[in-house]
Point group: C2
Chain length 137, copies 2
């Protein structure tokens, strides 16, 4: 399934001013990269803090969530438990401003580099990966 | 499904010498964390460079892959395409030495912090996420 996106992603670091050509103002090749959605029409998305490099969470996107993420510049996901679109931080205020969207070699995983406005985890932890299996930190 | 692991993970930075108690030498609570395997008996595992913080790849583990990863200190996965256990780097030499294993709040995603011996990607790229959708870098 090819996702065609013609809008520019308003990157926080460089607001889209005088945007002329799509390739110059925020996205690259989404129209030519054939995203591999899984059987449920979803793709896993890793969320990473653009500043610290910490991995914050893993969530899933459907086509609409990816489109909204690119158009609004804030992360949107598909909640598999609630079977609904989910604008991260819509209620808590802990939105994630998107700095970059990357895709892996197989085009079956997305990497989102974000500036988080608050904790990523519903527990209140900065990252969902707050438990280590291999150290006592 | 509770995975009981009683062996120590030989962390590269601190080789297990004089290892006495499991809780002091490499893992924490795998026996009490109820890993949530999906319908296929798998859990997604994010692989991150322990030094640079770069996200290298996303792969999947079954119970045996996680056990082997913890026991050997090198990443093992379950290849969904080949339907076989996969010791990363076994043929290429690009093994990933595990520095830390973390689990997320829902216990349905693993984060592996590794020292990679070479490129993570089968294309020869350092990271599988070498394509950006949002910049021309």
């Amino acid at each position: 399934m090819v996702l065609e996106i013609s809008l520019c992603l308003p990157l926080p670091a460089s607001p889209v001013v005088g945007c002329r050509a799509p390739r110059l103002c925020g996205y690259k090749g989404l129209d030519v990269i054939d995203i591999k959605w899984n059987e449920q029409g979803l793709i896993p998305a890793i969320v990473q803090d653009a500043q610290s490099g910490a991995v914050l969470m893993l969530a899933h996107m459907n086509e609409e969530a990816l489109r909204l993420t690119l158009v609004t510049g804030e992360t949107h996901f598909w909640s598999r438990s609630r079977q609904a679109l989910w604008h991260k931080g819509a209620t808590s205020g802990n939105v994630q401003r998107v700095r970059e969207v990357r895709v892996d070699c197989d085009a079956d995983t997305i990497l989102l580099k974000v500036d988080p406005a608050g904790p990523a985890c519903h527990t209140g932890e900065y990252s969902c990966f707050y438990r280590s299996l291999t150290s006592n930190e």
